[in-house]
Every structure is written in C-alpha cells, then in structure tokens.
C-alpha cells in the first residue's frame, strides 16, 4: 500500500501536467476530445492523490520509520488518533493534505458544474489542474513525505505535546477546507474572464463555493481560538499573530463577497469588485500559506518552515500577474448595468459594509507585513502587535456591527422616510434601553458600552424581521406560529440563515467586549493555604490548594495541583492544573514540559488557572484569571456555523424561484414586505 501510494503521487503529478496542458490547448482551440481528455485526467489525478494519501496514512499508522516524515512526526507510543492526525502535523504531509482536499474539491466542482457552466468548464478544468500541478510539484520536489532515511531508527521523535489535543483533529482540516475552497471560485473567475461570459450565471456556482469556504473557515478559526485558549495558557484566544491573521484575511474577503454579490444579483452593479474579491480570497489563501511556510515573518506558531515557502511566493506572484492581466483586458465586459440611486439604500449600505471589511482586511495585512515593509523602506524592522490591531479594528468593527443592523432593513434602490421610521423605531429604542441599563449598572468601558448598545440594536432588527415574517405567514396561511417560523426559514434560507449568522456575530462581539473586564492574579499556595479574590461581577472567590501530586500516565509524567474553589462562601468545584513531561517508549523525556490549563467554565466567566511551577515540596505557583464571557465566543461560532449551514443547504430550483432570489430587479419595497411568497 505504501509503495502504491508513493507511485500514485508521481502518476498524479503526470496526470495534473496532462490535464493542464491538454485542457488549455483544448479550450483555446475548442477541440472537444482534448477537453474531454483533460477532464478525465483530472478525475484520475484525484484518484491517485487519494491513493497517495492512503499510502502515507498506512505508513503513519504502522509506524514505518524508514520514512523521514513518519520518524520525525510520530513515535511508537503515540495514540493512534494522533498518528492519524500527524498527517498534517508537518510540512510534507500537510502539503499532501492540501493536494488531497484540492483534488477532491476539484473533482466535485467539475462533476457538479459540468451541466450548468458548459462554456466555462473547459477553462475551469485546466486552471484547477494547474493549481494542483503546482502543489504536486512542490510535494514531489520540495517536500516529499515519501523521502526515506538511510537507516531505520528504533523510534520516532514523537508529536509535539501541544499538538496532542482534539483541536489537532479539527482545526487544521477545517481551516484547510476553508482555504482551499477559494481555489474553485478563482478558477471560475479565470474561466469567466477568459471567455468574457461575465454575466450572473457563473456567480451562482461561485457563491456556493465561497459559502463552503466561508463556513469551514469560520469553524476552523473558532476551533483554533478554542485550542489556543485551552492549550497555550496565556489566557486569551486571539493574539493577532501573523498566522492567525493569515487565516482571517480570506474570511474577511469571503464575507465581503457574500454581501456584495447580492448587489450584483439584484442590481447588476459591482461586477469588477466581485471578480476582484473572488480572486483576492484565493490570493490571500496562498499568501497566508506563504507567510506560514516561509518564516519571513516571525510568528509564535512557526510551524513547518523551510524553503518551500518560496515556491508559494513564486506561485503567488504568478497568480497575481495572470489575474491582473485578465481583469485589465476585460474591464469593458465588467461594466455595471445600473447606477447607485441613493445613499439611503441597501446597495449603499452593502457598499459601506464592503469598504469596512476590505479596510479591516487591508489593515490586518498591513500590520502583518509591516516588519518586512519597514525593513525594506527604512532598514529597520518595526513590528506592530495587538495594540495596533485593536486600535484600528475596534472602531471599524463597531461600525460594521452598526451596518449589520442597518443593512437588512433598508430597501433596495431608495428607501423612503416612512420605510425608515417603520423599520428603525423598535431597534433604536432597544439600543437606547440597553445603553441606559449599562450606564445604570456602572459600566465605564467605552468600546464595551458601544458594542453592547449596538448588539441590542442589531438583535432587535433581526427579531423584528423574524416576527414580521412569522406574523405574515400566520395571517396568510393560517399556520401556527412555530410552523410558520419553520417554513419561513426553510423557504428563505438565504435570508434567514444570514440573519442567524448575524446573531452569531452579535454574540461574538459581546464576548470580545467582555475581554475588557478580564482580571489576573499571580498566586503562590502551599497545600492547605487559600487565596481570596473578587471577580469582575463583584463575587468573592476563595481558592484552597489541595497540594501537589505527582504520577505517571500513558506517555507522560504528570505534576498536578488541585484547587478547591468557593464563590461567596459556597463550594463550586475543583480545578485541576498540570505540568506534563512527555516521554518516549523507553521512558526518556521528549520535548519540554508542557502545561495543562485548569478551566472552570460558566456562561458568565471562566476561571482559568495556569501552573507556572512548583517550589520545594508542595508550593504551587499559579496564575489565576477571571475571563468573562469566553464561552460566548464558542456559542457565537456555533450560531454562525448553523446560520451558514442553513444558507448553504441546497434548495430545489422551483422553491428558490419562489423565494425571490432570481437575478432580477425587484421593486423598491422588497425589504419592507416580508418574504412570504
């Protein structure tokens, strides 16, 4: 199996090369047999990449240490699940994983798009093949997971303890699925630009793939935040590290696209802009890969760095050149068919939403690349950290939150003042009530106050939309309200799914604003001693150390400290925090000791305990943090994913037409009349 896998990798490379050359040749000369041959080669490539991946998985699971990759990423006593996930734990394997996902996506995209996009497909196939070819070349000649050692070590180096976490099974695959899905819209864009078929049809398929990318990207980022939070022990979940920023960029661009595409569908505007966004998302994904793989920017993540990064730089530059050339020569075909009529219209609010999202994306990119830029221009590296990103993005983010409430309520084309009054009275009142409450409760953090006020405003707009829709169905079809709600969402998935995503966003903002009230204490406790502290809500806490215990587990020595926690005199539980020393199968320590954070979670806050070390026999040095509203981040993420799923869920053609999402101009009153047809 392993040998077959290794062979398959090379065959896949040949297939990709053929699909690219035959595909482009066939598409430009319009020779059917070449086009068909390229398509078949692409399917075959997918099959061979799957076999190549299966081969590497076999090698990992059977601990075949004759392969350098297996020996450096796993060890005999590693639990099987981590042997499996070690596939994407190192450079070579993760590239193969990229190629695996890319070829599966590619096969699916070509298969599902063969009927609806007949004219584009001949170009989509070779474009996707070319991307796959690049990855396979990088794998075969840059970082081959099948490269062998000239001897067989007794045991492997093992997997970094920080990667031995369920996050490892979930975070990278989701992020990769999100990243790589941007390749399909990119290929469609290339195809549409070459053939000049830049009407709205191709965007329907593209939108679906952007949604796929957006959904996995969202889930991947949120899981990454959770993983960092429970594993790294610095008490937060987002540090504006270059690698994190790299995953955030495609998300921002995809989000912008998902909004601006509606403007093109309804009004025939923003064509250039949308093509640019589609292409930029892919470029951002490649740029992100370059940043993480090359080490040009210092990051704490610093995984799998090597010269392979420069392959990506080359590929990135090539892709930029191709797209600039294509868009530049097709500007005339991208002319808008309508003009902006009023500033108080949904188009205008979407335009501002896009400007803000792209502005945020640009500032994140700028801050991330600033060390390189300043070194190139001024000769010294200047870095910017979280303060920079927060100063820039908190105001922009809050503006965006405001638009989240405004956008869905304003009518297309031109909103009347009666429309505005009807739509905004309730939400504005909700916002003012929230503001008054916060001030009365004595909250003084400006950003947090604004965030919660706007959050209340946005939630009210969404509630109002749901209520209106339900009431209308209730009246017209005499459905009971729960049934009406169900039908409302099911018949208008895109609209109401989108609202649910917005609810998730509000919850996330609420959680982020909670960070302003975080409190930390450095504590040193002997067994039996206690420490008293007050949490941000004003509750009295007492932590009693139960002493230090030392014992051995599966593949590690553990030093654990138990803290009994009391809130306002009532015992609420025990928090355990550990230092772990991982060992290999001969009991020799591998890696540095690692920390397991003790977390007691609740809706209001997490109590987060990190063991810094043990002095003498049983004095534990710890840092205790009250982290308000952290769970809301995970809930917000889940709500967003749910909303995304609802939007994505395939809808039969007839129903979609009923729901009014055809690319036609609709009367200006769309937003004011609940969609009940």
């Amino acid at each position: 199996m392993i040998l077959i896998g290794e062979l398959s990798l090379w065959i896949a490379l040949l297939m990709a090369a053929w699909a690219t050359t035959a595909g482009f040749a066939g598409a430009f000369t319009e020779r059917e047999e070449l086009i068909a041959s390229a398509r078949r080669a692409l399917y075959a490539m997918c099959g061979f990449v799957v076999m190549a991946a299966a081969g590497l998985w076999t090698a990992l699971l059977t601990s075949d240490f004759s392969f350098k990759f297996v020996a450096s990423e796993t060890s005999r006593n590693l639990p099987s699940v981590y042997k499996f996930t070690a596939f994407w734990g190192g450079q070579a394997g993760s590239l193969l994983f990229w190629a695996l996902i890319l070829s599966c996506y590619t096969a699916i995209a070509v298969r599902t798009g063969r009927k609806s996009n007949r004219e584009l497909m001949p170009f989509v196939v070779p474009t996707l093949s070319a991307i796959a070819l690049f990855f396979l070349l990088t794998i075969c000649f840059g970082a081959n997971p099948y490269s062998r050692l000239d001897f067989i070590p007794l045991d492997g180096r093992g997997l970094n303890p920080q990667l031995q976490n369920p996050g490892m099974a979930l975070h990278p695959p989701n992020l990769y699925l999100g990243y790589i899905a941007t390749a399909i819209p990119f290929a469609y864009a290339v195809g549409a630009l070459i053939t000049r078929r830049l009407d709205n049809e191709w965007l329907t398929s593209v939108r679906r793939w952007v949604l796929v990318s957006w959904l996995f990207n969202t889930v991947g980022i949120i899981i990454g935040m959770w993983w960092a939070y429970v594993e790294l022990g610095w008490g937060g979940y987002w540090a504006w590290d270059p690698v994190e920023n790299a995953s955030f960029l495609p998300w921002l661009i995809n989000t912008a696209f998902l909004h601006s595409i509606m403007v093109q569908e309804k009004r025939g505007m923003l064509k250039k802009w949308n093509v640019t966004l589609v292409v930029s998302a892919f470029l951002a994904a490649i740029l992100g890969t370059f940043i993480t793989r090359s080490g040009v920017i210092s990051s704490v993540h610093a995984f799998a760095q090597s010269s392979v990064g420069y392959w990506f730089l080359g590929f990135l530059l090539l892709s930029i050149a191709v797209t600039v050339l294509l868009v530049g020569t097709r500007l005339r075909d991208l002319k808008a068919t309508a003009e902006l009529e009023s500033m108080v219209s949904r188009e205008a609010s979407f335009l501002f939403n896009n400007l803000l999202l792209v502005g945020i994306a640009f500032s994140v990119l700028w801050g991330t690349l600033f060390p390189i830029l300043s070194e190139a221009v001024r000769g010294t590296k200047i870095t910017v950290g979280p303060p920079f990103f927060n100063q820039v993005n908190v105001p922009l983010g809050l503006l965006l939150l405001l638009l989240t409430g405004i956008g869905p309520l304003i009518a297309w084309r031109r909103a009347s003042s009666a429309n505005l009054r009807r739509q905004f009275t309730g939400p504005v009142v909700a916002g003012i009530v929230a503001l008054a409450l916060l001030l009365a409760l004595g909250m003084r953090d400006i950003s947090a106050i604004i965030a919660y006020t706007l959050g209340a405003f946005v939630l009210m707009t969404i509630l109002q939309e749901f209520r209106k829709g339900v009431e209308a169905r209730h009246r017209m079809y005499a459905e009971s309200r729960p049934v009406a709600l169900l039908h409302l969402v099911a018949r208008n998935r895109r609209r109401y799914g989108g609202y649910i995503v917005h609810v998730g966003i509000v919850v996330l903002f609420a959680a982020f604003a909670g960070l302003a009230f975080k409190e930390e204490f450095d504590v040193s406790l002997k067994g039996g001693e206690q420490y008293a502290a007050v949490d941000p809500y004003g509750h009295q806490w007492r932590f009693v150390s139960q002493g230090v215990s030392r014992y051995d587990e599966l593949n590690r020595h553990t030093t654990a400290v138990l803290l009994e926690a009391f809130r306002d005199g009532k015992r609420v539980g025990v928090i355990k925090t550990e230092k772990r020393q991982y060992v290999d199968s001969r009991g020799v320590p591998s890696f540095e000791p690692s920390t397991e954070v003790g977390i007691m979670s609740g809706l209001r806050q997490d109590v987060y305990v990190v063991l810094a070390g043990v002095t003498g026999e049983d004095t534990a040095e710890m840092r205790i943090t009250f982290n308000p509203l952290v769970w809301w981040v995970w809930y917000g993420g889940m709500i967003m994913a749910l909303g995304g799923l609802i939007v994505m869920w395939p809808q039969a053609e007839r129903k979609r037409r009923q729901a009014g999402y055809e690319a036609v101009l609709e009367p200006a009153t769309t937003a004011a009349t609940p969609a009940v047809r």
């Binding site: 190192g90 790294l232 500033m343 205008a348 803000l356 100063q391 820039v392």
Partner: protein, 151 residues
C-alpha cells in the same frame, strides 16, 4: 448631488478614517524589532534607546537559564552570535522556552545593560525543518532518539 458622488465622499471618509487609524496606531504602538547587535548599535548612537520599549529576537544561550524556585522569576542570556545581553523576566514562560531556543523578547534595556523583559515568546523549534542540528545542543534532546536526529 448625485448619489454616486455622495457615496464616493462617504467611501473616501471611511478609507481616510481607517488610513488615519492605521498611521496613528503604527506611530503609537510600533516597536523596533532588533537583534542584540542592532540594539547595541542603536544604544551607542542614541542613549534614549535605554528604557525604550523594543522587541529583541535572539537565541537563549544554553545553560544560562536560572529560574527562581517556582518558576515565575528567571534570568538568562540571549545572543545573536556577536552580542550578548543578560535578561531578567518576571512571569510565566511558555512551555517551549528552554535552552538554545529562539525567543522574541519584549521589554526595555536598563542602563546597567540588563534587558528587562515583559513578555517572552519562544518559538516552537521542534517544528522547524532545520531543527535537528540546532536541537542537538539542548540537553533534553540529545538523549531522545539520537538516531532520528541525524537526518
């Protein structure tokens, strides 16, 4: 005024604001990222670099780490091969912080020549493709499956 013009003005306002935010934030929050040698040069040219917040990227000199019992106060030495600085740090060091590892320090150089770090970020060297050679100098590693390291 046409809506398009109004929008262009609005858009310019949004972009202008974000541009201004970016420029001003870089001025107020940007810090120099230096190697020990560069830091020494800066300080000798302009003494105001003492007690100024900077970032320093360097390697921990193996064997130089002295931890106070309990592990929340430590002293160590960092080097870039040419220039060496003693460092003091109060706080919790990351798990990956150990002999011979590359670190990024945030903090300030005091007038006695000690770097007082407020944050210590350690790169997780084990995931570097070029790690084996570097890692052979670290005690925990020589013992561990030396065979696999020779690659």
């Amino acid at each position: 005024m046409k809506a398009r013009t109004k929008f262009l003005i609005g858009g310019a306002l949004v972009l202008g604001t974000s541009g201004f935010l970016m420029a001003s934030s870089i001025r107020t929050t940007g810090v120099y990222y230096l190697t020990p040698t560069e830091l020494a040069t800066k300080v000798s040219v302009d003494p105001s670099f003492y007690e100024t917040g900077v970032k320093v990227g360097a390697r921990v000199v193996p064997g130089s780490i002295v931890r106070d019992p309990g592990g929340t106060f430590m002293k160590f030495t960092v080097t870039d091969g040419a220039r060496t600085y003693p460092v003091s740090y109060h706080g919790i060091a990351p798990d990956t912080f150990t002999d011979g590892v590359d670190v990024v320090l945030e903090g300030r150089l005091d007038r006695n020549g000690t770097f007082r770090a407020t944050t210590v970020l350690a790169k997780c060297a084990s995931r570097y493709e070029d790690a084996p050679q570097k890692y052979q100098q670290t005690p925990g590693y020589r013992a561990n499956g030396a065979a696999a390291q020779r690659t």
